[in-house]
């Protein structure tokens, strides 16, 4: 741990984040609602891409009977994740369906009609954690299809394999849950502390690290108390760092900085500093996979907002349609203005209630007008609120001005690519300018440009290669021709020579030949 004067003066790290904001948490809506298992839904829709990376390959076809825990789609490539049937039933469709994704575009989806029996298929084989190797555990995470459950959905196995490449020493379990409204991680830690700690220890074993640190925001005293009751697991002693309640405390690199005092260099992974961050819910899923051979079939989702009749925390099966989840919570009040998947800071709108909750869905929110940001933007008055709020040390209003002037390179120069899209600037902006939206747009444009450039370059390269190939062929042909010509000439010369020799000694050979 690095030593700094700021630490001495601020043992609780009250101003630990440079920038950051204090939005109204509104977690009281569901903080006291114990996790409740939702009954089987009437339909399960499993998008084959619930993670970052390549989409999984379906293993079932229409009409197939599937059992609970059966793999229905296989990971493709190194960054991907398996998908399992969360209950038994019949596959009624394998096709495209609107995805729980900001774009709302359809993705390949397997639709299952549950038979209501919830029959288990064969579970994953038991592994004895105490003697299991690091690779075995990481492979188990892959077999169970576990992905980061904090929101990004990065395949957990890939992150658990980081120990092969880097010299790791610390596993941080992210229990910050800094997004307003969300309480699913809080409830998970309160109610399943022992399992979460066990999952964390299993992950630590896979990574080969010595230290496990839980980072929990100070607004979750019960969760802190619960975790501190189970500080020992698998020979590890867990330490808990109480974090100041501030958004975006849960952003990976910022969390690392606050807990260890080490700052991840731009464009690098925290693993290069020896630190890996995993989410609380992911640790819990790891526990289930390693101890019970259960693949990633369900997750805790916070259903909240003033637009929901009875906000609560539900354990829902992956693939449960949003509409059934909301109905289970008494339905909408009718005053809702905006439905969201995820938290209000980084979530995205629900365009159709038929989309399913997936492995990375942490919240379903129905917000009323009073809870929402106003949409009408005013001119920037350069007040600097965004600069003060930015946890990454950027100057959002300046970046925005450059993007508005279509000077994307200029925006990159002053740090566009270091933006983590946390939305603090937009939250603070007194003029209601959609800053972070502009940054996402610019990043998209740049990615497009880059891919076009790549394409152009590739085309050029291929064209050049083709020309070179053709030239080589032509050259080879010419050479062959020249060779043949030379051979012909040689032959002619030899014939001529022979003729000349014949002429020089007429009669002798033919005679001999005749003989």
């Amino acid at each position: 741990m690095s030593f700094s004067l700021a630490h001495l003066m601020n043992p609780t790290g009250l101003f630990a984040l440079n920038g950051g904001i204090h939005p109204q948490g509104r977690k009281f809506l569901t903080a006291d609602a114990a996790i409740e298992a939702m009954p089987l839904p009437s339909l399960i829709r499993l998008p084959l891409r619930q993670h970052i990376g390549a989409q999984a390959e379906p293993l079932v076809k229409r009409g197939d009977e599937v059992l609970k825990g059966q793999m229905i789609a296989r990971a493709r490539g190194s960054v991907s994740a398996h998908v399992h049937a969360p209950t038994s039933g019949r596959v009624i469709a394998v096709g495209y369906f609107a995805a729980p994704h900001p774009s709302g575009l359809p993705v390949p989806t397997v639709t299952i009609r549950p038979d209501g029996k919830d029959r288990w298929g064969p579970r994953l084989p038991r592994i004895h954690i105490e003697d299991a190797s690091a690779d075995e555990i990481a492979t188990r995470a892959a077999e169970a299809g576990i992905v980061g459950m904090g929101g990004a959905g990065f395949p957990a196995a890939v992150k658990l394999h980081l120990g092969r490449k880097y010299d790791l020493d610390t596993l941080i379990i992210n229990g910050a849950e800094c997004e307003p409204y969300l309480t699913c991680d809080d409830r998970l830690m309160r109610e399943h502390a022992e399992e979460v700690v066990d999952g964390a220890a299993i992950m630590a074993k896979a990574l080969g690290v010595q230290r496990i640190i839980f980072g929990i925001e100070s607004n979750k005293p019960e969760a802190i108390a619960a975790i501190s009751r189970f500080r020992h697991a698998l020979g590890y002693t867990i330490s808990i760092k109480v974090l100041p309640t501030q958004y975006p405390m849960g952003s990976g690199n910022h969390l690392v900085k606050i807990i260890t005092g080490r700052e991840t260099p731009a464009r690098a992974l925290s693993a290069e500093l020896g630190i890996v961050v995993h989410n609380t819910a992911t640790a819990h899923a790891m526990h289930l996979a390693a101890r019970y051979g259960e693949p990633s079939l369900s997750r805790v989702v916070t259903v909240s907002g003033r637009g929901v009749k009875t906000p609560r925390n539900l354990r829902v099966l992956v693939g449960t349609p949003v509409t059934e989840i909301i109905d289970h919570c008494g339905g909408l009040t009718g005053t809702e203005e905006q439905l969201l998947l995820g938290g209000p800071m980084m979530g995205f709108p629900i365009r159709s209630l038929r989309i399913p909750a997936i492995k990375s869905t942490s919240g379903i929110l129905a917000l009323t007008k009073a809870e929402l940001r106003k949409s009408q933007a005013m001119p920037c008055i350069r007040c600097g609120s965004c600069v003060q709020a930015c946890p990454s040390g950027l100057t959002p209003f300046e970046m925005n001005a450059r993007i508005q002037a279509d000077n994307l390179e200029g925006a990159v120069e002053i740090g566009l690519m270091d933006c983590i899209a946390c939305g603090c600037c937009t939250f603070m902006c007194p003029s209601n300018i959609p800053l972070v939206q502009g940054f996402s747009y610019a990043k998209g444009r740049l990615a497009e440009k880059q891919s076009q450039e790549h394409q152009r370059e590739e085309t050029k390269r291929l064209a050049a290669a083709r020309t070179a190939r053709e030239e080589a062929i032509a050259a080879a042909k010419r050479e062959a021709m020249a060779k043949r010509k030379a051979q012909m000439a040689e032959k002619k010369r030899r014939e001529a020579e022979a003729k000349a020799a014949e002429g020089a000694a007429p009669g002798a050979a033919p005679e001999g030949a005749v003989k």
Partner: protein, 355 residues
């Protein structure tokens, strides 16, 4: 099903907006303004009203000309505040057209010529003040002594003063302490002969002196300013830098030669120093964005105020100091960007430390 909306994350907001900021500033400005209006009587009230109304009118006209939504943009209170700030800097019994002209200069030349709210390089109120001071030195330096309302002009008389061009009676006109001291120093007298006392400083601080409409009571301005800082509308670093550098320079000079340089407390208490530090220099649009930038900018203003007051041709140098530093803001902003997370100050990724 809800309506599809184009709004993107974040969906929640700090509930802080431009109009609230403007209203908060006006509220904090109110005590000093009320003090001025009370002491300078009806003519001051009329001048104030004319200036603010002209500013609002000008804003609306400019918005119409530039084809922007008039109602939404003019309701944000920024024009009202600009007019208010201009009025604060005027001699309280100046004729109405001075106020109207000031408002026109501030809104049109100071703001809309640059592209409207948020686009101007120079502080509109200070542009107006500087232009008026240079163009109309007589009207802009005709001061009146504060008086009890009973002794002041009645409503009808006030109409004559503000709108009828009735000249300010000599009996109640007076010079500001700054101009008084400067002219006496210019005449070769030393400070001990002029006889500045603590009583003058106290009178200065609480505003029982001739001066601009809203700048006489340094105490009330300080109070309002501190409230702004507590409300987190301004960052305290900026006024501290302005006042600190002004006091430091004045203190050093006074220590070097107490006969020629007035003590720092006069610099802080007189004229526009307090007003400038809390309400003018802190203008969002024309100040740098980072704390470091604000500190540099504030020190520049404080130093320039001292230099202009001491060696310049004008007794008060706030407007020029602010405008000069405004011109430096883009430069300051470029060199005081915050350090990006994970990068060095120069922008290269942090080196991976050896573990």
């Amino acid at each position: 099903m809800t309506t599809q909306s184009a709004m993107a994350a974040p969906y929640t907001h700090s509930m802080f907006n431009v109009s609230r900021t403007m209203i908060a500033v006006m509220t904090c400005l109110f005590p000093a303004t009320a003090h001025g209006l009370y002491h300078f009587g009806w003519p001051a009230v009329m001048l104030f009203a004319v200036t603010v109304l002209s500013a609002i009118l000008c804003e609306a006209l400019c918005l119409i000309l530039s084809g922007r939504p008039v109602l939404r943009f003019s309701m944000d209170g920024s024009a009202t505040l600009t007019g208010w700030l201009v009025a604060m800097t005027l001699p309280p019994w100046a004729p109405w057209w001075i106020g109207a002209l000031g408002a026109v200069i501030a809104i049109v030349l100071g703001k809309h010529v640059f592209g409207g709210l948020g686009q101007n390089l120079f502080n509109p109120a200070m542009v107006a003040r500087a232009v008026l001071l240079v163009a109309l030195p007589v009207q802009m330096t005709t001061w009146v002594a504060p008086m009890a309302p009973a002794d002041g002009p009645g409503f009808i008389e006030a109409l004559a003063i503000t709108f009828g061009g009735l000249p300010t009676p000599d009996a109640i006109s007076g010079a500001t302490v700054l101009s008084d001291v400067q002219s006496q120093l210019d005449a070769g007298r030393s400070l001990s002969e002029i006889g500045l006392s603590f009583a003058t400083a106290e009178a200065q601080f609480f505003g029982a002196v001739p001066g601009s409409l809203g700048e006489t009571s340094a105490f009330l301005l300080l109070l309002g300013g501190l409230a702004l800082a507590l409300l987190r509308i301004i960052r305290i670093i900026l006024p501290v830098a302005v006042l600190g550098s002004l006091a430091a320079l004045a203190g050093i000079a006074h220590l070097v030669n107490p006969e020629e340089f007035v003590p720092p407390v006069f610099h802080l208490a007189t004229g526009s120093a307090m007003f400038c530090a809390f309400f003018i220099a802190t203008d969002y649009v024309t100040a740098p964005m980072t704390a470091l930038g604000k500190a540099i900018y504030g020190c520049g203003i404080g130093s320039l105020i001292f230099i202009i007051r001491t060696w310049g041709a004008f007794p008060e140098g706030v407007a020029f100091a602010v405008l000069l530093m405004n011109a430096c803001v883009p430069l300051i902003d470029t060199y005081t960007r915050p350090r990006i997370f994970g990068r060095t100050r120069k922008g290269a990724p942090l080196p991976l430390e050896d573990r």
